[in-house]
């Protein structure tokens, strides 16, 4: 009887071991959505770290210089990033679609218009958005960021009551043929995606599984 008990215990232990091994094996296979066609070892989980450093220069407007003063088109200029930013905001706030188009860097304009066309975001759509979200609102310049050849102007469009809205927005400008024009060149840059100047962060880590 004692021998039978020992045998049963050994059998249970063996089954437990087999079950554990099967679970591990199944677990490894389950992790992968694609497997090799030819004989290969079990998958080994590894990681790789890629670190990228971005250096930029930050300016904030002095008190009294953050309110954006809109201009008529005949007084507008694209000579500096500040002037171009005012032009862009003025074009939007005066619901002037053709002026708005003229503030784009040509390559970025082409990219933007292609994308907008795919999404059905045509001229009437933008004019409606601008009337609802910009016309009659206060626009405040929050920060100016210089990064390589680009200048990022960070601004806030007020709520209808004149108070700052919760969202600060960036517009990226680049000098081309003597004009500072709106650029989408940084659209995939982590620097713009994380906009570290907003919260004053100096690092960010993302894990991709």
């Amino acid at each position: 009887m004692k021998q039978v008990t020992v045998f049963s215990q050994m059998l249970i232990l063996l089954l437990a071991c087999m079950l554990t091994m099967m679970t591990r094996s199944t677990h490894a296979a389950e992790l992968l959505w694609v497997i090799p066609t030819y004989p290969a070892s079990e998958p080994e989980k590894k990681s790789l770290i890629v670190e990228t450093q971005f250096d930029y220069h930050l300016y904030t407007p002095h008190k009294g210089h953050n309110q954006v003063h809109l201009v008529q088109r005949k007084y507008a200029s694209l000579d500096s990033a500040d002037d171009s930013f005012v032009s862009r905001m003025s074009a939007i706030s005066s619901v002037n679609y053709s002026w708005w188009l003229d503030t784009w860097q040509p390559s970025s304009k082409q990219l933007a218009l292609q994308y907008y066309q795919q999404k059905g975001l045509d001229q009437p759509y933008w004019e409606k958005v601008w009337r609802e979200k910009f016309v009659g609102r206060k626009i405040r310049l929050k920060q100016k960021v210089i990064y390589n050849d680009y200048i990022v102007m960070v601004y806030n469009v007020s709520n209808p009551n004149g108070k700052e809205s919760y969202l600060d927005l960036p517009v990226v400008l680049k000098k081309e043929s003597n004009d500072w024009l709106v650029s989408l060149d940084l659209r995939q840059s982590p620097l713009l995606r994380f906009s570290p100047w907003l919260e004053g962060i100096d690092s960010e880590k993302v894990i991709y599984e």
Partner: protein, 190 residues
């Protein structure tokens, strides 16, 4: 000093003064309007988790003679890639690269980028070359296959594949990324 030299000197001084005035007015304009918060640094760290499998002594021999439009996995697609080289079939070989790669090469038609790359591969792989599979790496939505091509010397290639319309295609732009270069170094050293 003759008149010509005097005029030249005046012109140089005028340009220097204008530049200085322009720079000074720009600097003053920034100073007048903004508080300088100084240089900042943002460090972006990406940790990529991947799964690595080593092939167990797999020497490729199942090459085919013409294109088959089928999804049998990325390593089978590598066999098709080598088969297209053996068959000297440029169009078939080109069709195994991603759309983005092909578009990029179309733009570089003047330098014959696609044909040059095809000839590069023909120089690396022929009927006498021993092709041994080494690594199978799953990295997000990509699979990278490591293969050793043995001619008089051995060379290691790590080809990244992505799924496009349910077909595995080689992604040349990814091979230019920092992530790819680091991963290749990491695999070679492991």
């Amino acid at each position: 000093m003759n008149n010509l030299a005097k005029n030249y000197l005046s012109l140089v001084m005028l340009i220097a003064i204008s530049t200085l005035v322009l720079w000074s007015s720009t600097a003053q304009s920034i100073e007048r309007k903004y508080n300088d918060q100084g240089e900042k640094t943002f460090t972006y760290t990406q940790e990529f988790i991947f799964h690595h499998q080593k092939y167990q002594n797999v020497i490729l021999s199942d090459f085919i003679t013409e294109s088959i439009d089928i999804n049998n996995g990325p390593d089978t697609q590598l066999v098709h890639f080598l088969s297209a080289i053996l068959a000297d079939d440029f169009e078939w070989w080109l069709s195994l690269w991603s759309i983005e790669t092909q578009q990029d090469w179309t733009q570089k038609l003047a330098i014959n980028k696609a044909q040059r790359t095809f000839h590069y591969w023909k120089g690396r792989f022929n009927k006498n070359t021993v092709a041994q599979l080494q690594d199978f790496i799953v990295l997000g939505q990509r699979v990278l296959i490591g293969v050793e091509l043995k001619n008089s010397a051995s060379e290691y290639y790590l080809l990244p594949f992505t799924l496009e319309n349910n077909r595995w295609r080689i992604d040349q732009p990814f091979m230019d990324s920092l992530l790819y270069k680091k991963l290749k170094n990491n695999i070679i050293k492991s």
